[in-house]
C-alpha cells in the first residue's frame, strides 16, 4: 500500500470514512487523559502555583499552529510539483484550524503572561512572530475568499502559503536568536527536557491529543471540501446541460 494512492479523492473518502471514528475517538480519549493528568495529577508549580496548568493548552496550541502552517506549505509544494487535486484542498481545509491554534496560543499566553510577567502583551520576538503567523493565516484564508475561480485561487494560495512559511523557523528559533521575555526552548533541547517529569508528561500527552484532534478535524473538513467541489461540478454540468 502506498500513500500516493490516497491522493485520489474517491479513495481518500473511503479511507476517511473508515478512519474518522478512530481519529475522533482517540483524540477525545487522549485529551481526556491529558486533562486528567494536567489538572488533577500534576502538582502546582512551586513558583507559578496553579497558573502553570495554562501551559497544557498554551504549548500544544502553539506547536500545532506551527505544524499546521508547515503542513500547508508542504501541501502547497506538493500541489505545485505533483498537481495532486487533494493537496490544495488539504491546505485550504487546514488554514482555519491553524488560525484558531495560533489565536489560542496568543490568548492563553496573554492570560498566562498577566500573572507571571505582569503584562498581557509585550512586543518581543516570539510573541510578535506568533502574531505574524496569525495574520498570515488570515491572509491565506482571505485569498481563498477573494478569488472566486477555485483553480486560480489555489494557484495564488499556494504562493502565499510558501512565501509565508519563512516565518515558521523564525518563530521556532526566536527565543534562541533574541533575548526574549518568553522562556527558551525547554523540551526539545540538547541534554534533555529542563522541565520536571510530573508536568512534562501531561504536556506531551496533550500535545499528542491536540495533534490527533487536528487530524480528526482536518479529515472531516477535507471530506466536506471534496464533496463541496463535487457539488459545484455537478451544478456546472447541470447548468451547461439545460
Amino acid at each position: 500500500m502506498k500513500i500516493e494512492k490516497y491522493a485520489n479523492p474517491t479513495r481518500f473518502l473511503a479511507l476517511q470514512e473508515k478512519m474518522q471514528p478512530w481519529l475522533t475517538g482517540s483524540a477525545a480519549f487522549i485529551i481526556a487523559i491529558g486533562l486528567y493528568l494536567g489538572l488533577v495529577v500534576a502538582p502546582p508549580d512551586y513558583q507559578q502555583g496553579e497558573t502553570v496548568r495554562i501551559m497544557f493548552i498554551h504549548v500544544p496550541s502553539a506547536w500545532n499552529a506551527m505544524m499546521v502552517y508547515t503542513l500547508m506549505a508542504v501541501s502547497s509544494i506538493i500541489a505545485i510539483v505533483f498537481r495532486h487535486p487533494l493537496a490544495d484542498m488539504a491546505a485550504k481545509a487546514a488554514a482555519p484550524f491553524g488560525a484558531v491554534f495560533a489565536f489560542l496560543a496568543l490568548a492563553t499566553g496573554s492570560l498566562w503572561g498577566k500573572p507571571m510577567w505582569g503584562t498581557w502583551w509585550v512586543w518581543d520576538a516570539r510573541l510578535t512572530s506568533t502574531f505574524v503567523l496569525f495574520l498570515l493565516y488570515l491572509g491565506y484564508i482571505a485569498v481563498w475568499q477573494a478569488i472566486e475561480e477555485p483553480r486560480r485561487a489555489a494557484a495564488i494560495a499556494r504562493i502565499v502559503a510558501i512565501v509565508g512559511f519563512i516565518n515558521v523557523p523564525i518563530i521556532k528559533f526566536s527565543v534562541d536568536w533574541w533575548n526574549s521575555l518568553h522562556q527558551g526552548e525547554s523540551i526539545f533541547r540538547a541534554g534533555g527536557p529542563s522541565i520536571y517529569p510530573t508536568i512534562l508528561w501531561p504536556l506531551l500527552v496533550m500535545g499528542l491529543g491536540y495533534t490527533l484532534m487536528f487530524f480528526a478535524l482536518e479529515f472531516s473538513a477535507l471530506r466536506s471540501e471534496v464533496l463541496a467541489r463535487r457539488i459545484r461540478q455537478m451544478e456546472i454540468a447541470e447548468a451547461q446541460g439545460s
Partner: protein
C-alpha cells in the same frame, strides 16, 4: 540589456508624466508625517525619540499605497501580457517593474526623509544611517510590494488584501530598519542591522520575482 532598460524607462516615464506617480507617494509621505505630531502632541523630546520609527512607518505606508500601480494598469489593458511575449522572461519583467517602483517611490522618499525629519525634530546625527537604511530597506519593501501586487492583480478591491498578505512580511524590514537608523538599544546595533537589511533585500531580489511571476501567470491563463 536594452530590453531591461526599455522596461524600466517605460515605467519611469509613466510615473513621472502621470500625476499618480512619485509625486503622490511623496505627498502621502508628507501627510502622514504632518499627522503624527498633530496626533501625538508637539512635545519635542518625544517627537525626537519616535522620529525614526515614524519615518519608517510613513515610508512603509507610502510604498504599500503605491503598490497597485506596479501591475494593475498594465494587467488591465493587456500590456503585461504583451510584455511576456517579448524577449524577456516574466521573472525579469517583474524584477524591472519592482526596480522602477523603487526608483520612483523608495529612493525619493529615502532622500526626502531627513528633510521631512525636521518636522519631527529628528536628531541630526541619525540622518546618515537613516538615509542608508531607508534606501536599502525600501528595495525589500518595493519587491515585497510587487509580490503583493502580483498576488492580488486580478481581484477587485484587492487593496485591503495586499496589506493583509504583505504587512506580515514587512515586519522584519521595519524592525531591522528602525534598529539601524535609531540610537535605541544602548549598544551599537546599527551596523549588524544594516547588514541584515541588505540580506533581506538580496533574498527578496532572488525569490520575489519567481513567486510574483507565478502569481501573474495564474491570472493570465
Amino acid at each position: 540589456m536594452t530590453v531591461l532598460a526599455a522596461l524600466v524607462r517605460r515605467d519611469l516615464t509613466l510615473a513621472l508624466r502621470q500625476g499618480t506617480g512619485a509625486g503622490t507617494a511623496l505627498g502621502f509621505f508628507l501627510t502622514v508625517l504632518v499627522l503624527i505630531p498633530l496626533g501625538i502632541g508637539p512635545d519635542q523630546a518625544l517627537l525626537q525619540r519616535i522620529a525614526p520609527g515614524a519615518l519608517w512607518i510613513a515610508l512603509l505606508l507610502s510604498v504599500l499605497l503605491s503598490s497597485d500601480r506596479i501591475f494593475q494598469a498594465d494587467f488591465e489593458d493587456g500590456s503585461l501580457e504583451l510584455m511576456t511575449m517579448g524577449p524577456a522572461a516574466m521573472e525579469i519583467v517583474v524584477t524591472m517593474k519592482g526596480l522602477a517602483h523603487w526608483l520612483t517611490t523608495g529612493l525619493p522618499l529615502a532622500i526626502a526623509a531627513p528633510l521631512l525629519g525636521f518636522l519631527l525634530n529628528l536628531d541630526a546625527a541619525l540622518i546618515g544611517p537613516l538615509v542608508l537604511a531607508m534606501g536599502l530597506g525600501s528595495v525589500a519593501l518595493s519587491l515585497l510590494a510587487s509580490l503583493g501586487a502580483a498576488v492580488t492583480v486580478g481581484i477587485r478591491r484587492g487593496g485591503l488584501l495586499v496589506s493583509l498578505i504583505i504587512l506580515p512580511l514587512y515586519v522584519p524590514v521595519v524592525i531591522f530598519g528602525v534598529a539601524a537608523s535609531s540610537g535605541i538599544g544602548g549598544v551599537n546595533i546599527a551596523g549588524p542591522s544594516l547588514m541584515i537589511l541588505a540580506a533581506i533585500a538580496l533574498v527578496a531580489l532572488v525569490t520575489v520575482p519567481f513567486a510574483a511571476a507565478a502569481a501573474l501567470r495564474a491570472y493570465m491563463h
